[in-house]
Amino acid sequence: MSGRAIVITSGKGGVGKTTATANLGLGLARHDRKVVLVDGDIGLRNLDIIMGLENRIVYHLVDVVRGRCQVRQALVKDKRFPHLALLPASQVDQKEAINPEQMRELVAQLKEDFDFVLIDCPAGIEQGFRNAVAGADEAIVITTPDVSPVRDADRVIGLLQNSMGDPQLIINRMAAEMVQRGDMLGQQDVLDILAVNLLGIVPEDDEVIVAGNRGAPVVLNDRSRSGQAYGRIVRRILGEDVPIPELNGYGGFLHRLGKLFSRR
């Protein structure tokens, strides 16, 4: 088997990389794919707690790279899906504890056993980023519709284009009412600036916090708007043609009337 290795990255911290990684992983597992989530944020381990697997960690990524254990021993099996596993980050080491070459080897090894290797990238564009990106075949960039995450996303997209071609974009925490009021960048605004392919939009949703509290990512909650959005994104990753629904707000009468006159 040779799986797809996808890095989830953003440049800016706090825009939802780890949450997205957890949701995409669980979503893919729900479609019966064999998935491993790699926490690339060495020193600031977080994917485990978002996934609700924090109490099961024995070994971690740096242990594997250093040969202190087998990959198999470090993988934490998900409680809900036996074919979903987590490779946790070390909480005590520094980013420099591993290098891109070691990461490439590790990811190549994981690709033999899994359909998807999702790598949760740390914030920033330094060593941690270079490590996380090293073994990936594809990249998903997450941003929120705010000025600084979009700016940082543009930087990261530039870096990724040099090494692996165009990444796909997820816009997280979109608030339709704010877009409608003209107080938040809309989907098209963000795309005009970043000029990459849009993989999906996740609406602002309190359920994400609740899901974090519980260690049960929103994609498992079919009634939540954000969970549904992640569900659609997962199907797109699997190659299905799922339209991106227009967020209520953009496309209203006044907006369309405005567009008619603006000739843009």
Partner: protein, 95 residues
Amino acid sequence: MAWGTFVQRLFGNKGSSAELAKDRLQVVVMYDRLGLSAGQLEALRKDIMETISRHVAIDSERVKIDFLPTPAEVTITAPVRRIRTRGEAQKQQTG
């Protein structure tokens, strides 16, 4: 202001911060992509103006340099006051 914005404002939609955000982002992202600072950009502007002025009389107050993203493009708008004859231009260069 674009007509669209005007119509939206007419109907009670007050100044759009999203539009401002987009304009600011477009500028900053272009600087980032070019690896240019605002100071370097000013230097570029001066150089370009000097070069053009050597051949054409331009309205230097109204020279505009725009960077457009996707596809990346630099547009220089320099309103011409009058085009000098070849002789005049040479005279100025030697004199």
